[in-house]
Symmetry: D3
Subunit: 162 residues, 6 copies
């Protein structure tokens, strides 16, 4: 990490937005992952609800997609972006009593979209939480991380665990 | 869990907002916790930056506070609320190479504020992530959970691990 | 209409927000209706998609609920409100080749909620439009109107055609 | 309609955002129309108010313009766009006791702007409704439709009735 | 100022939101003032435009009203509020070549509304600026201040110069 | 000013958004200035707080940056933009008992960014006001103006007083 500092902190230690004017416009993609752990009976309720009408997972998916578009309003130093694609998938993993969330964002632009993908995944998880909290107070959201990233000068990145 | 179903899913399996018209106005408080794991050298950069000007932690704190106010815009079935207090604290835990976030929301109203606290904690974590991502791609956000809750008919709750 | 003028226009003809400080806090409910006409084969696609996963109608429903919460941001002279309940239902009417939307909003407050119900219904319709526009350019949204209203000093109202 | 399905529904029946990464950047224009029917005496009030200060129509116009900029926040699967132009006009039609609204949006981009034009027209109508509802409960909004569209691979489109 | 510190800074020097849970619900009113100076010929254009259709001043007025509703989104430590009334007036003062703006906000609540009034006045001024900037680059906005305030434990306040 | 009129007012005197479709994409920069006057003891509190943790000035800075991104939501006829850089600095001027704010916005686009810089400066000032208002009711915000502008067909501009 020699020679690199926190890009959002200037020489006086103050928060700052990175100037992306001079960055190249390239196709950028980021994939974020996250998981929501709940009781087995809660997960079964979600899955059965899903089997019938798909609404718990469907609602979380839409909330994640909509949140990605508002990332720059939530994260103070993020740039406003014109995402060309957002996708959020939710996969129940019964043996681990959890739901895995994966969010993908895409942009032809000057800055990476990992914060957009991470925000989409986080809000999808929070929405799941909201929909089951009345029957399960012990829900935990975690493992929110960058899974894959491409575009920009730093090249392709795949998380070790992915 | 006998006799209880997912409150946000109606008898036809469709997503719905809970009607809180008949709920009592009581003083409601919720505390949410979350953690952000990063490399030791990243954490040191944050702490040193903090020692000087406090900006990484200060920015995350403000982002969390501001996000709590927008919870109902992000989580589809949450009610708009007039929070009377929001607090977010961030505590570096050097031996575990992580930062612990705690968010507290307070309201005199008809509905609980755990989603507001969880949203504040989540967005504070995402902001931390954003500010260190240039030097550390392996940051992970997790352990987002309800720590404590009071007010409303379900009484006082403290998470087992708290 | 003797003795009554446009409440949003003051004596100088300028737009103004109605002052609701002195109005009574009562339980207020408003129901708005709207319809979306499309080709029979488009409607069949929506219904079949619905039968499987419910997403076209489910997405429109959520969009309507979320829009109700933002009415005061869209309609310049509307007051910010803390709605206690929002519901949006969508009913395909195959023989008329249309989908009927009904939105209900509820509030214990000083001002009526018909604009919130009308906004929810309108945005649900726009979302339906968005999801079928690639296969049907002739979709028409209409019949957006107040169906029922109660609470406040003007008493209960039911639209003649309801 | 052979070979075409609902673009917002994927093969599993779930809602999805269309990926526009590969679409061409072209000049895109969309014109939407809508109408608001009211009692003759309500319309006269609006027109007379207009003659003096223009505020009912002026307020609706601005609300429509501002709403177009927020379309992607309201319609879940719409992309955020940088509209280069938005125009909304309102034309009282006394013989039919209605006001005709027309909204035009323009963009150099990868996706059509009909949802932006339709949203602008709808919110202009809702604002008209809001401003006259105290004197006329029977107002109806309708005939919200695409009038004209150009740009993109599907070429120029003019609605039959336009 | 003995015994009083900055209420938004806690004992550790960090920004914080004031907890208003224990404050009394009273009728609160705040009036803010502001002025926009421009060239005499610019002011004349505004006034003449106003004489015809009222749009420069009308647009600024609406922008101010709408901005008041979003104060808590803009000012990090402001509480979300349900304003019961917002009014913005604009008065051209030809002899001083300026426009005076006055914004009034009203609330039955636990916290003062001066930030809402100041935000309304500021955004009305910025909107005036936007509408004349093409013909006058030397416009200056100033004298943004609290004019009058009542409600809450600090009693009635009138600015010395008011 | 011969041959030039208010660009936001059309031939009928109605408000309108300027169509920027045909404008060239150039690198555009705008710098806005503003000042906040307060009592000497208030300023000292801010500076001392700053010396310790930087939160009053840090909070105002972030609020300014975040507000710039929302300019098009606040100013009715502004275009949505993808700013590539926003910076806000705050400089206490003890001898004049004021804080000077300077906001810089940057964009590769079709329209100038002075409104974004002016909005950032204004909201930073309002945030300063909010944080000291409990100890100083006589705070005044002023001297909000364009300091410098480049890009676009009108060339480089520097305010006389800058």
């Amino acid at each position: 990490m020699t020679g690199k500092g926190l890009t959002h902190i200037d020489e006086h230690g103050e928060a700052r937005m990175v100037d992306v004017s001079a960055k190249e416009v390239t196709e950028r993609v980021a994939v974020a992952g996250a998981s929501v752990w709940m009781k087995p009976e809660t997960l079964r309720m979600v899955i059965e609800g899903t089997a019938k009408k798909g609404d718990v997972l469907g609602t979380a998916k839409l909330a994640g997609i909509m949140a990605a578009k508002r990332t720059h309003e939530l994260i103070p130093l993020c740039h406003p972006l014109q995402l060309s694609h957002i996708d959020v998938t939710l996969q129940p993993v019964e043996e681990a009593s959890r739901i895995d969330v994966r969010a993908t964002c895409r942009l032809a632009g000057r800055t990476g979209v990992e914060m957009e993908a991470l925000t989409a995944a986080s809000v999808a998880c929070l929405t799941l939480y909201d929909m089951v909290k009345a029957v399960d107070r012990g829900v935990v959201i975690g493992d929110i991380r960058l899974v894959e990233k491409s575009g920009g000068k730093s090249g392709h990145y795949t998380a070790p665990e992915a």
